[in-house]
Amino acid sequence: MFEATSLNRRNQQVEWLFKMLFLLMTVILVIPVVIILTVLVVKGHGVVSWEFLTSPPTNGMTAGGILPAFVGTLWLVAVALVASVPLGVAAAIYLSEYAPDNWLTRVINLAIINLAGVPSIVHALFGVGAFVLFFRFGTSILAASLTLAIMTLPVVIVATRESLQAVPRAFREACWNMGATRWQTIRRVVLPNAISGILTGIILEVSRTAGETAPIMFTGAAFFLPFLPQSVFDQTMAMSLHLYVISTQVPGVPEELPYGVALVLISMVLAMNALSIGFRVYLRGKKKW
């Protein structure tokens, strides 16, 4: 009575085939990540030490550590976040919660999508024109960070907007029916439930900001500086540019040194991701529907 027909068997075979196909694609996706990490760890771990992190480069950057670049990247990321997170989150709240569906909103949305598509070297040139020259910030952390902030704004805006819109409309309607204003609704119900998604957007932004080279090359990052930046108006070294410089511009750099720098850079990004993911899991455990 319940014997499989030939159609059943064929369906099962097709089912198995597609499952394996999707699995294969997923595995292929993971391979480069594993290879990159493995190569970096194998070739770079010998270089990385406490001293490597806490001393400046020496001998024309062919020896010594990475302290100015390490600290510089922290500065750049921090200032970029301060500039872009409030701007991006506020813009996303407006677009998701307040904006009427009219031509202006559509133009703004289109602009954000296009901003995400602008090549980073174009952002760099914009940064030179706007922040370095027009606002007279000079080549400085401030100019470089603002350039990075503008480049990563779409990431923050899109992630925030998506996570706000993932909060069911029924929750908003229940609040509005109660006589809550839009802001009361946002603050008490929408934002607390969207915060983990917003954090995801910020994680992505941090990762991208820390790794970008082109936008900071002309706006604030220096080839070599033996001292640490003292304010946002100083120039600074940065990990990404330093990696580029010692890999291509400086003769006589020992082979394992760039691997060490890359390992530190990727570890910074992964550590920030891990921290934020942990925070998200914690928040998600608290809020549910």
Binding site: A174, C175, W176, N177, M178, G179, A180, R188, V189, P192
Partner: protein, 293 residues
């Protein structure tokens, strides 16, 4: 009222079916008597609707509707899907302003005042409690769900909030089930509990008018009867507009009922007349007898 024990079976029959044999059996039940006495026709008018037309873009969902709801009356609105019932409720507390493309023509008066003349639409909405078809437990604790509305209006004292929360949960017949887990998430309660939580939340606004939009659609029969009992107590204190597609529910609760069909108001009258008395339009009798729907 049917007794608590042994009543469950009968209750289920009454809610789950609306065909003619049930209708005939239902007519013999005494429980139709406890919909309460008719509110006198010279009672103050709580809600007055005149020439109300609602449309979304070019689609008209409600056409030139006029009727009155009296103070402390349970007023039923029945009709099949797409009759404009839910849109009507939206217009009452000006939620239409938050629905893009929704247009309201005509006049709605609340306590004799045109709702559009309220400068403070938030105050208007606080005076009108709304319960939706699908229970909406906000992703806050049970306590915070009920305390939200008082907090929005500036109540901050713990003792005062405690008192409001307990009173509203008790009146919504939910207190005994949740008193030990007020900090549990409201959105994780069962459907029936969430619907009573929604009612408790609406009560925390201390509304003068309670709108219920097909509240029993996602709720089990036993909970439906409990909520109906709650409504029978609430009608002493507030006016209730009950939108339902269960004609028997309207018969059990509403003193007067309006029949909406395809965006038109077919008839307004005493509920019992729809079933056994004179009707103005033969479609009314056919609908309540289940000949179409």
């Amino acid at each position: 009222m049917v007794g608590e024990g042994g009543g469950a079976g009968t209750r289920q029959d009454r809610i789950l079916t609306a065909d003619e044999s049930q209708l005939a059996a239902g007519a013999q039940r005494t429980s139709f008597g406890d919909r309460g006495p008719q509110v006198s026709s010279d009672a103050p008018v709580k809600l007055s609707v005149q020439g109300l037309t609602l449309s979304y873009g070019t689609k008209t969902v409600l056409r030139d509707v006029s009727f009155e709801v009296r103070e402390k009356e349970v007023f039923g609105i029945i009709g099949p899907a797409n009759s404009g019932k839910t849109s009507f409720l939206r217009a009452l507390n000006r939620m239409n302003e938050l629905v893009p493309g929704m247009r309201v023509d005509g006049t709605i008066r609340f306590n004799g005042e045109d709702v559009n003349s309220f400068r403070n639409v938030y105050a208007l909405r606080r005076r009108i409690g709304v319960v939706f078809p699908l229970p909406v437990g906000l992703p806050l604790s049970v306590y915070d769900n009920v305390a939200l509305s008082p907090r929005l209006t500036g109540v901050t004292k713990k003792a005062q909030l405690d008192e409001i929360v307990e009173r509203c949960l008790r009146r919504a017949a939910l207190w005994d089930e949740v008193k030990d887990r007020l900090n549990a998430l409201g959105s994780l309660l069962s459907g029936g509990q969430q619907q009573r939580l929604t009612i408790a939340r609406a009560l925390s606004q201390e509304p003068e008018l309670l709108l219920l939009d097909e509240f029993s659609i996602a709720v089990d029969p036993v909970t439906t009867m409990r909520i109906e009992d709650v409504l029978k107590e609430l009608r002493e204190e507030m006016t209730i507009v009950l939108v339902t597609n269960l004609v028997q529910q309207a018969r059990r609760l509403a003193q007067r009922t309006a029949f909406f069909l395809n965006g038109e108001l077919v008839e307004v009258g005493e509920t019992e007349d729809f079933f056994t008395g004179p009707v103005l339009d033969s479609r009314t009798r056919e609908y309540v007898e289940g000949k179409f729907g």
